[in-house]
Amino acid sequence: MMKADGVMRSYRGTALYCCFLALSLLLSSCTSGSGNRERGSAAKDTTLVIAMLGDADFLNPVIGASVTSSNISGLIYPSLLQSEFDTTTGLLNFLALEKQLRPSIGGKKPEAALAKTWKMSADHKSITYILRADAFWDDGKPIVSGDFSFTYRLYGNPLIASPRQQYLAELIGADKGSVDFDRAIETPDDTTLIFRFFKPVPEHLALFHTSLTPIPAHLWKGIKPEDLRSSPLNQKPVGAGPYRLQSWGKQQELVLASNRRSNLPKPGNIALINWRIVPDYTVRLAQLQTNAVDIVENIKPEDFPSLVKANPEIEIKSVGLRVYDYVGWSNIDQAVYHKTGKTVPHPLFGSPEVRRALTMAVDREAIIDGYLKEYGTLCNTDISPSLKWAYNRSITPHSYDPAAAVSLLGKQGWKPGPDGILQKNGRKFSFVLYTNSGNARRNYASVIIQQNLKAIGIDCRLDVQESNVFFENLQNRKLDAWMAGWSIGLEIDPLDVWGSDLKKSTFNFVGYRNPRIDEICELAKGKMVQTDARPYWLEYQDIIHRDQPVTFLYWIRETQGFSKRIGGEQLNISGTFYNIDDWTLTPSATHAP
């Protein structure tokens, strides 16, 4: 009797357990209604799967800020011009249907461009675009010049806080604080679009700054500026590009389906693009290795050999050079600057000779050989070797030479003390080198730097800070020495980082000041033909290399893992997905149904 009772009870327990299991699973499966029904494992051959670190924020080019958002918006929305980065010169080229700034290297027809042609006025104070008449939004309405003037008002509205409002800096009124849109942008008819500037603007810059992406005015005009960010239209965008948003499961996956009706341009062979959000790096790697995804961006060099060995169907592609790491040495005494607003040289790093000695004491090649290998290049200044038209080839890099560094420091009065540490007027050459947490490359480099400096009698202690804290300290100019990096724009504009007016140049964290640099930058910007500014940029690099406001370490090639089933991709400095409409997917054994 008792036994039977016990069995009954255990049955009841199991049944209860199963019900509970089923219920909770059902609960969670209810929430994942994202995705589409026509896909299955068989459909994988027409689906490109990209693993991303983070989700898109707004699928709206006016306010979208994350890289994922820009990549996706680029496929959904139309663009006024098509741009391409000319790898032979390092110049950015702009193409309309019937006109191009420079001869195109790819010879690709600029089908994505909404502009048929443009004309720059003789005084360089206005640019007139003629738009094509056969372009339509997804809802069938034509794309007209009014869409541009409407969207530019949104870009410039302070209530909207668009991260791209800097592009409007040359429009009429911008010099007085706010753009006078009635005068700055004119639309005499649906296919004519005129931008007016308050000063002469070089053609390439005018094209760059007037080709911001439009959104459909007829859908957005009823929305108040203060409600723009919370509008549901940001999550269900209406565009005109080769892809349309099919589904978006927040923080899970975002699916784009090819838009067969689009002629801006016609979509390629890939029917679906699935962006999967996989926050953990190790897991992204594992997914690439097991063919669960096709593309993983920013793979660390130390993972290449095992990845390619484990799965020969993967290849590593690299683009660059846009990103560099540096060691920042505070040029000025930050404490005095904060207290009095005066700039006096920093007691340790104040002189260019000392900073040069520090650069010579660091074995930069060893860091490249040990970590980045062929994906790193010695960095001399912040003008990338990829910008060939402006790059100064005649600069000889400061070579690794500890003996020369010691003698240079000796001439500056830094002599070894009784404990072997350099001293000057009773002050030891001792400091803390800060960097942000979670960056394996910088951790690797900082240890080498510490050893190199120790070898010449400099006491360098390492400290890692949480990224938010680190960035705030940098901005408030609270650190004396740190390691960080910059990603450069394709237009050279270094005043933000080196300008002498420390209040205006908020990114001049080191407090570097050289009036000639300010002068050169203004002179270069004033040239109406971009390449005419070359002599100024050459001189600029000579000065920066001599003054060493920071120790430039290395340029980094950004590395992406690609499945070999993708064909036709051309990675470009302007973006991984730059020619996605030309890509093809080859069915592979692992992906066959």
Binding site: S24, G35, R37, S230, Q251, F471
Partner: protein, 321 residues
């Protein structure tokens, strides 16, 4: 008991409120700026200022607090800074069921395995099996869960390729039909739930073992054996029931651990649950989302503890609430 529950619920209101107020001030005093992302070369310096104005961060702290208080009392926790201005409860309503699923499955697995292992160890005290289970349990108990998770991924997802490494479902799982979808979901949950529950069940096993050993030595167990009851009945009916009493309280108190465990499990396995929402909100200094998450997890923990106390009273008639 009903009065007791009501009293506890009423008391928990100021408690949760106090936690929220503390969180409000701590996150605002912590270094970091929700608009920091917009401070970069090439972006107008006005943008960060405009964004701060939009978020109401330019007001003095007391003013911000009063405004926040007014909104919260009306049930409005605001919109997320980092997630495209989505209302925070919308973000949470998408994330919570996923975490609750993981937590519920883990809780069940924890106690099922923990109790079974604990009983075996106690009944076969000092045998080889007991030592083996004890050592294994301690081994897993002392292992960092994130490391264990990565090892499991390397073994089962990379080398053996038995289970997927991330996500809640395969790509295109919707076409498998409801049952296929359900199985696919289970298949994806095996690794994370295993990782989370192995650690927890090891702890519970130690607890059950100790409690069982204490009970087995009692006089009434000897009496039960003396009157000729089968060993199974003695262990499961007489000993286990009493031994489980202290274990019941663990249900409530293990909830916070399971929730914090879910935090990194979700990041590692790419589940869009509460853990990931919280971690990302903290890194992005997304104040409204951090506070709403604190509210939800605080409430769940308070309720979990209440549940444990009530269960205790239900299981043991000697305890009066």
């Amino acid at each position: 008991m009903l009065t007791y529950i009501l009293k506890r619920l009423l008391l928990s209101v100021p408690l949760i409120f106090g936690v929220l107020t503390l969180t409000f001030f701590i996150i605002r005093l912590a270094p970091g700026d929700p608009a920091a992302f917009f401070i970069q070369p090439g972006v107008s310096p006005n943008v960060a200022e405009q964004i701060r104005a939009q978020y109401g961060l330019n007001d003095p702290l007391p003013v911000q607090y009063v405004k926040w208080l007014g909104n919260v009392l009306q049930g409005d926790f605001g919109r997320s800074f980092s997630r495209a201005q989505q209302p925070v409860f919308e973000v949470i309503s998408e994330a919570l069921p996923i975490t609750v699923t993981i937590a519920a499955l883990t809780l069940v697995a924890n106690f099922t395995f923990g109790i079974i292992i604990g009983i075996i160890s106690a009944v076969r005290q000092n045998s080889f099996l007991d030592r083996f289970l004890t050592v294994t349990a301690l081994f897993f108990y002392s292992m960092p869960e994130f490391w264990f998770a990565l090892m499991m991924i390397i073994l089962f997802a990379l080398k053996l390729q038995w289970f997927p490494a991330s996500g809640l479902n395969e790509i295109g799982a919707e076409s498998f039909g409801p049952f296929g979808f359900f199985l696919d979901r289970i298949w994806h949950l095996v690794l994370p739930v295993t990782v989370l529950s192995i650690n927890g069940s090891a702890g519970i096993a130690r607890y059950v073992r100790g409690s069982m050993l204490e009970v087995i030595r009692q006089d009434y167990i000897r009496t039960a054996r003396a009157k000729g009851l089968p060993e199974k009945v003695v262990i499961f009916h007489h000993a286990l029931r009493n031994a489980l009493l202290p274990v019941i309280t663990l249900i409530g108190s293990s909830l916070p651990f399971i929730f914090s465990g879910a935090l990194f499990i979700e990041v590692i396995f790419a589940f869009p649950g509460m853990g990931r929402v919280t971690v990302e909100a903290i890194f992005a200094r997304d104040y409204p989302l951090i506070i709403a998450n604190t509210f939800i997890s605080g409430t769940l923990i308070v309720l979990g503890n209440l549940l444990a106390d009530v269960l205790y009273a239900v299981a043991d008639p000697r305890i009066r609430l």
